[in-house]
């Protein structure tokens, strides 16, 4: 395995407020990594920094050996850095297949609209949306909209896929379906970062977990290790609960 994406001391300040502070990590090709942190920890900001939505205040983003710190979002998309949005962003009046074809045509670099359409139908079959391919995107249910976002991103032929809260708003059964799909995507060799604020959702699927708190990376490693990290416990479960766990540990 080789390195695909590396962040070096990436920082972002809005006005005087530091949203992301000197975050560094690297992703290996084909990994599934969970990026977790409570609401307001700076997760979405970090995704925006990686994909060029916001300019960096400091640090570097290196993608496939290339410094991409100053890229625009469309350049990120064409390079193979795809993302989904926390709040789904379809083209509401286009059909589902057109939505995905947009990804194939512009991000995936396909030449013709015909080829893009064919590619789109393949991706729709992959995520299980082929039966609604010709309906308007606005008419989809929430779980299906999330799948549409995935299909759109996949059509861009990404090397890295950043999934921003794909499970938000889904019930337990729907989350299981989504996780199943994410595993399928990973088998295609795509590096996946799952951004979540609920730790339990990513535990089962991630090979590695990164924890963001107040804009800083406070822990990183295999799920089991991270679970036992004191700072993580404190950030998630509150000091009291953390103390109790600690006390229980002493009694044991």
């Amino acid at each position: 395995m080789s390195e695909i994406l590396r962040l070096e001391k990436v920082s972002k300040a809005f006005g005087g407020v530091t949203a992301v502070n000197e975050v560094s990590f690297a992703l290996e090709e084909g990994e599934i990594v969970g990026l977790i942190g409570p609401n307001g920890a700076g997760k979405t900001t970090l995704v925006n920094l990686i994909t060029g939505v916001h300019p960096l205040s400091g640090g570097r983003v290196v993608f496939a050996g290339q410094d991409v710190s100053r890229q625009k979002p469309y350049e990120a998309a064409r390079r193979g850095l795809a993302r989904t949005f926390q709040i789904v962003q379809p083209f509401p009046e286009m059909t589902v297949v057109e939505n995905v074809a947009a990804g194939a045509l512009f991000g995936g670099g396909l030449r013709t609209r015909q080829a893009a359409s064919e590619e789109a139908r393949r991706e729709l079959a992959f995520v299980g949306l082929d039966h609604v391919a010709d309906t308007p995107a606005a008419s989809l249910t929430l779980p299906n909209r999330k799948r549409l976002e995935l299909a759109k991103s996949l059509a861009m032929r990404p090397k890295v896929l950043l999934l921003d809260e794909v499970n938000a708003g889904l019930n337990a059964a729907e989350i299981d379906g989504a996780l199943e799909l994410i595993r399928k995507i990973a088998k295609r060799g795509i590096t996946i970062v799952i951004i979540e604020h609920l730790m339990k959702v990513v535990l089962s699927i991630s090979q590695r977990i990164l924890v963001l708190h107040h804009g800083e990376l406070i822990a990183g490693g295999p799920p089991r290790e991270v679970l036992e990290d004191e700072r993580v416990i404190e950030a998630y479960l509150g000091a009291k609960f953390a103390a109790r766990i600690k006390a229980e540990g002493m009694h044991a």
Partner: protein, 329 residues
Amino acid sequence: MTSGLLGRLPAGALGYALCALWIALLAASPLTGDNYLVRIAVMISMFSAMALSWNFIGGFTGYPSFSTAAFFGLGCYVGAIAQRNGLPLFAAWALATLFVAAFAALLGLIILRLKGHYFAIGSIAIVEVTRLLVSSWGSVTGGGDGLNVPLMQGSPGAVAAQVLYAMLGVLLVAFAATLAVQRGRLGFGLRCIHQNEDAADMVGVDTTRFKIAAYTLSALFCGTVGAIYASWVGYIDPTDSFSILLTIKVPVMALLGGPGTAIGPVLGAGVFVLLEEFFWANFLQWNRAILGGIIVFLIFFLPGGLLKIDYRRFYRRAAERRAAGKAAA
């Protein structure tokens, strides 16, 4: 019967056939020898070309651009000044086209960073600024006194026909460009921008370049048409060339027909010019109020334009009513 026939034709074919027939009718107007009819045909072709132009930025991309009069006016002036400096007719028209296109591309680089209301206000301000600059740059533009443009050679009838074919030419090129854009990558990208600009950016659409392309296309044909217009009327002045009325009339035409389609702007321009002509002739004093009334009607009763009306439903309703009438009798 009628509806059955309509159902069997490939989608849109009827529209294109009618459109071709309409353009042939316009082209045939000099045969009547009636100069008034030819003048109307010229106006229709001219406004169709401008409405098609506006459609690139306003219809496909969904940016509320009101800079049409700036492009038209600049086209008038560049064409006129070029001709006064000895450039032949066609060269002057070509120069005006290129100048306006370059102007729009540069302007687009700046103004397309604005969105929504700010973009609308900015695009109107462009019309004001160009008008004010042209009227105050008296040494070149003749200022508020206007400019005389060298008259075209030939009898009035021959000149009118020549102007008509020039305008029709622009209309056809604009129409072909619309079809090409609509079916190609550019049009698809513009539609994405229209529906969700952030998402378009995220799927890899270079939104800045696409928007500039649309804005330039929205200017290009207006520039040509402006230069032809200047040669036709022989005299231009800033108030007439950079009129706020023109800048709103053109989008209204596209909205009337059906924005974001190829046939809509042509249909809308035709209907609008004919209505306007009719009201000018019959209600001179009230013509502006009547046009205002049309706009209000359009906004409330034809939100998608004439093309979006479900004519078959009308037909079915009428049939039902007839059947009901028979049953009652």
